[in-house]
Symmetry: C2
Subunit: 195 residues, 2 copies
């Protein structure tokens, strides 16, 4: 792809990601993406077969970002410090969005799960990868004596991810960081996380 | 309202609730509600000003059902038995839907929160009422020595509701009760719930 083609593709994806985040996938039209990104119809359809392909490309890009984020926050310091940083930075990321948009994977999980199998499979894979990384981190923290070890890592990790998603939902609804902050604080206490 | 008028209104709301649950609010059109409910346009607009009014009426009806559900499951037996029944019956309700549709309040929280203030306010009120009832139940269970008492009831209740919503999201995504069941089992253990 030419440099200009690459830039056009990126601009379309940036715009689409913003619209999907704010309005949801179903309520966003290709025309809105065209207008908001300043792209011609010909250019858009050169890069993408349609809204479905744009949506999947947005999800793929967000998955890469999430995995980089997890690698970055979890890997520094002790296992417990990594987990603690994950909670802190997850709140910070949501604060940066001013609690608009929420989590694109959670949104897609709810919006598309009964109607779009391709999205469902992809997003299920994202959650599975996310839960696996948290479970691995919890296991390391347990081995280091930095986290309660009376429950299996995978079980705790599933609960952590479900609780974070529920907290993001509440924060988005109330346009306030309080629900997510409370929920993350409670998670720290309940995991007996110390470092 | 005549008995026939009441029946028409109920039929419209039943149909709309089903479509909103499955497809989401934004993706459902008034025409689909008309067709699926077998109602004439004149009849629908006699009862409702438009899709927005139908959506709010559906949410109001679902709120009444949720509050009845909570009153029913929480009030029988000891405080801990009530909470335990809440977990069991929440899973059962989702199983009955075969994990399609999820929680209409969670769906609306994510879908409408950045675009429809009337819905947002209403759904925020539903979550607040739900959290308050769980907090009250937790407080009673703590007083009876049936639940960990090192954390405040409201804090635990916020986490419980966030975790249940996150668990419903995962169950819906995977079309499986496993994620919700795991999450609820972990919640029981983490609350040190015993009766």
């Amino acid at each position: 792809m030419t440099r200009k083609g690459e830039q056009t593709r990126t601009r379309i994806l940036d715009t689409a990601a913003r619209l999907f985040h704010r309005k949801g996938f179903a309520a966003t039209t290709v025309n809105e993406i065209l207008e908001a990104s300043g792209t011609s119809k010909g250019n858009l359809y050169f890069h993408f077969a349609g809204k479905g392909a744009i949506g999947l490309a947005v999800l793929q890009r967000e998955k890469v970002l999430l995995m980089h984020f997890l690698d970055d926050v979890l890997s520094r310091g002790t296992p417990a410090e990594g987990l603690s940083r994950f909670f802190t930075e997850a709140l910070e990321k949501n604060r940066q969005h001013a609690f608009i948009g929420g989590c694109i994977f959670g949104n897609t999980a709810l919006e598309a799960s009964d109607t779009s199998p391709a999205y469902t499979d992809f997003v299920a894979g994202v959650f599975d990868a996310w839960i696996s990384r948290i479970a691995h981190q919890i296991e390391r923290a347990q081995q280091a004596g930095q986290l309660r070890d009376d429950l299996p890592p995978r079980e705790l990790a599933e609960m952590v991810v479900a609780t974070v998603e529920g907290g993001i939902m509440q924060a988005r609804l109330l346009k306030s960081e309080a629900p997510l902050q409370h929920t993350l604080d409670t998670l720290r206490k309940i995991l007996a996380l110390h470092h």
